[in-house]
Structures are given as structure tokens and as C-alpha cells.
Amino acid sequence: MSKSKKGMNIQAKQQRAGWFFLAPASIMIAVFSFYPMIQAFLTSFTTGTGVNVKKADPLFYNYTRMLADKTFQRSVGNTFLYLAIEVPIMLVLAILLAQLLNNKDLKFRGLFRTMVFLPCATSLVSYALIFKSLFALDGLINEIFVNLGILENNYNFLGNTGSARAIIIIALIWRWTGYNMVFYLAGLQNIEYSVYEAAKIDGANGWKTFWKITVPLLMPTIVMTVIMSINGTLQLFDESMNLTMGGPAFSTITMSHYIYNNAFGLGVGKFGYASAMSFFIFVLVAILSAISMKVGDNRD
């Protein structure tokens, strides 16, 4: 009896030690993530700046203002445009590359992988500035296109809405394809080679093998990369800020960029309004992640 009680004490002591170990990290997440999120929600019901902050009247003033704000609508539209075009192209390309690089007969696999993966080593600001310079009015791309006769005169890629948006999308694909490929390569390495051998014996061609074996087995990885990509795209900031500065005339601005402009960018901080918009992004991220998870779960 006394012995078992002593044993319990030791175990209880150990469990308590466990709580001490996880406490600092947990408290920090509560203080620096959950608490600010609640604060942002409360702030979204206020108006005014500095010491003149007061409760919004009507309470949903910032939200109704947000829905009527043309620039905000534009920023939501842009963000979803990037999401709808960039994410599918990038993920398909990433799966394709992973599939090709997973071939045992392929030579220079390591070299190819390193090169495709390399863009991940550059910071977001760096690559945004590199692309900005490449596509500048007096940049290399214009020089090449004019010399090849594709363009007659230098074209202001970043100064025109359509091309500016396209460049943001191209830049995003360039930066993130290798990153996603790494997930798929890791996922493919978990698939036994014998599965493919068996498929080959059964007469399945490469295309069929890809759809019937690779994609279903990679499904959990695909769902995860989709969620990460949605999350990342909804929060795009560095590219909009440094590649196009949101221009021309806000036609490429992202939601995060517009929120930043309202809170910290131009003159007085409209914290209440910016908070309302940021809460909107939070809801979007939550909804879209939930949908992706549901879709992924229905696979069997």
C-alpha cells in the first residue's frame, strides 16, 4: 500500500514536471497569438485614432465600411486571383517535378533537386527585388524581348495591371514550387517501389500509375500543401509591397498590404478599421482550411 502510494507520488511528480516543460511555450502562444487575436477582434469594434479611440457606432461600422470599400474589394479580388491561378499551377508543377525526380534511373537527380529547390534560399524581399529589376522598364526581359522582335518598344510590365499581376504570379511560382516539391518527394519516398513494379507488371502506363497510385497515396501531403499555400497566399505582403508597391493604382495590392497601409503605412493608424479587415482574413483562412481538410478526408 505504502509502496504503491510512493509510486503514485513519483508518477504524479513526473507528470507535474511535464507541465513545467510545456508551460513556457504554451503561455507564450497564449500571450502572443490567442490574446492578440481576441484584442484584434475587440479593436475591430472601435473607431478613431490615438487617444480618441471610442466604441464604433453602429457597432459594425468598420465591417460595413469594409464591404463598401472599393480598394478593399480590389485587394480581396487580387488575393483570390493569385490564389486561384498560382496555387494550382505551382502544386501540379511540384508534383510533376517530384515524380520525375523520384525516378531511380535518372542521372544528376541530386543536382536537379538542388537547383529546383534553390529559390527557397532567397528571402521574399530579395526575390521580389530581383524580379522587379528583371521586369523593369529598362530591365533584362524588355531588352531580350525587344531584341528578339517580340516587342517593338520597352513595355512597362509593372506599370500595367494585367502584366503586373502576371509577374506577381510568375514570381510566386518561381519561389515556392521547389518548396512544395520537397514535401512531395518526402511523401513519394514513403511509397514502396514494389507498388510501382506491380503496377508495371499489371500493364499500367505512367499516366495511369500517376493518377491511380501516386496521387491517392500522396493525398494527405497534397491536402497539407494546399492548406499551407492558401494560408500563405491569403497573407501575401512582401511581394505586393516590394515588387509592385500594390500598383498601378492599387490594381495588384493584397489584403495584408492594404491592412498594413491602413494601420502603419500612411499617416494616422486606423487600427479599428485595419483590425476589422484582419479579422476577415482570419475567418477566410479558417474556412478555407476547414474545406480543404474536409475534401481531403473524403478520399476513401
Partner: protein, 275 residues
């Protein structure tokens, strides 16, 4: 496999090779161009010069004299290293606690923490700015690192990888009379070396590349980081591309070196929490 057979396989792979060479070229070219441009004058870059030039030193001197290059580099290294060390300690301790001392209540806490993954950075930015500014921490290393020390991603990574930690070691250490915290330092830390390496690489990269948050809380020029510095150079009225690309090169060099030396750990760090 016969030789003939293998050359037949290689012949069938030719389209694959061509595709991979094109993709690799597109992946590498912008970075090559950045390095080449750092050695050229702005006029030559505008004329489409893509080979290396002889103006690297001149570009560097302009970059260093017109901007506080060493200050920004020093800040970036300082913030990134401090954040990496503290984040690894706090998050690995939590991962250790969550996995090796797990019970129902702790699992519940963990699943609540995971919800923080859904919170966009821009959503907490304003309240965090107010907190940091009230605490008079603006433009200090604390402003930079505090929100990024404890992340669900890192905790999850250490928790998942702790599953491979042999429980026998734990029991043996306890029988030897080691206290729980000493088990962490003397047993867990050395055994989990590879997880620390992967987590360290990814944390350092993220800290080095951070831009939005530092822009909010490190407004003082003396506190600025490398990404902020090069963004400022690019935002000027006229841009000297040679100087700008020299700046971009300096901003990218540390992460590229880390990438080439620790590519395996970097890849593991990215996929770290997924197992």
C-alpha cells in the same frame, strides 16, 4: 540489367532531362543574374549585360557608404541567432513535455495550441504592436523575437520527433537518480541532435527573412534588418541596379550558404512536423 537495356531507358528519359534542364535554368537564372548584376554598373545592366563585370568593389563601396550595411547585417545576425537559440530551447522543452509526459490533459492543451496555426500574422500585428510599444520594447531584439519564439510548428516538430526517443533511456536515467530537467539536458538534447539541426536551420531562415513584423516594430534605422535595408534602397527615387543587387546579394548570402551546407536539414526542417 544489360547495358543496352539501360541505354534504352536513358533514351526514353530524354524528354524528362530536357524538361528538368529548362526548369533548373529558370530556377537558377534570376539568382545568377543577381550575382552578375552586383558586379556591373547600372547602365550596363540596363543594356542587358548578363556576364560578370569589374564593378563589384565600386558597387560594394557605394552600398556600404550610402547605407548602414554593417549595422543591418549585424542586426540581422543578432536577431536571427537569438531567436533561433531561444525558440529551439522553449519549443523543444515543450515538445519533450508534450510527448514524453503525455496524458489526456496535456494532449488537450496541445490540440488547443495547434489552433494558433490558423491565426494570420497580419491579424495579431496591431495588438502585438500596442503590447510591444506599451512595454517600451520597440526597436529592441525583444520586439523582433517575442512573437516568434513559441510556434505551434516547432512544438509539433519536436513532439513528433520525440516519438523516436527511446523510453528505456528515460527509465534508466530515472533509476540513476537523474532529475527530470537533467534528463532533458543530458539525454534528450544529445539524442535529438538531428531534429535540433533541422529546426535550427528553418528557424534561422525564417528569422533572417522576416519583413512585415520588423517593418512594424523596428522603424529606427539603427535597428533595421537586411531585408528592410534593401527594400529601402529599392524604394528610392532612382535605383542603381548594381548597388541594389550587391545589397540583395548580401541579404541572400547567409541563407544561401546555410542552404548549400545544410540542404538536407533544411528540407527536413520544412517537412519536419509531418511524419
Amino acid at each position: 540489367m544489360t547495358k543496352k537495356n539501360s541505354s534504352a531507358i536513358q533514351r526514353r528519359l530524354i524528354p524528362t532531362y530536357i524538361f528538368l534542364v529548362i526548369v533548373s535554368f529558370i530556377s537558377v537564372f534570376p539568382l545568377y543574374w543577381m550575382i552578375a548584376a552586383a558586379t556591373n554598373r547600372s547602365v550596363d545592366i540596363a543594356r542587358g549585360k548578363i556576364t560578370f563585370g569589374v564593378y563589384a568593389i565600386e558597387n560594394f563601396q557605394k552600398l556600404a557608404s550610402q547605407n548602414d550595411l554593417w549595422g543591418a547585417l549585424g542586426n540581422s545576425f543578432f536577431y536571427s541567432i537569438v531567436q533561433t537559440v531561444i525558440a529551439l530551447f522553449v519549443c523543444s522543452l515543450a515538445g519533450f513535455g508534450f510527448e514524453l509526459y503525455h496524458d489526456k490533459a496535456k494532449d488537450k492543451v496541445f490540440s488547443i495550441l495547434l489552433l494558433a496555426m490558423m491565426i494570420p500574422q497580419v491579424a495579431t500585428m496591431i495588438p502585438l504592436f500596442k503590447m510591444i510599444s506599451t512595454a517600451k520594447l520597440l526597436n529592441t531584439v525583444w520586439a523582433f523575437i517575442l512573437p516568434s519564439i513559441s510556434t505551434p510548428f516547432l512544438i509539433m516538430m519536436f513532439r513528433q520527433n520525440s516519438r523516436n526517443f527511446p523510453v528505456d533511456i528515460l527509465e534508466a536515467a530515472r533509476l540513476d537518480g537523474l532529475s527530470e530537467i537533467k534528463i532533458f539536458f543530458r539525454m534528450y538534447l544529445p539524442v535529438m541532435k538531428s531534429t535540433y539541426a533541422a529546426a535550427g536551420v528553418i528557424t534561422f531562415m525564417n528569422a533572417w527573412n522576416a519583413y512585415l513584423w520588423p517593418k512594424v516594430v523596428m522603424a529606427d534605422t539603427r535597428a533595421q534588418t537586411m531585408p528592410m535595408l534593401i527594400a529601402k534602397i529599392a524604394g528610392g527615387y532612382t535605383t542603381d541596379y548594381g548597388v541594389l543587387m550587391m545589397g540583395v546579394l548580401f541579404c541572400s548570402l547567409p541563407t544561401m550558404i546555410v542552404f548549400f551546407i545544410l540542404q538536407k536539414q533544411f528540407a527536413e526542417g520544412i517537412t519536419g512536423a509531418v511524419k
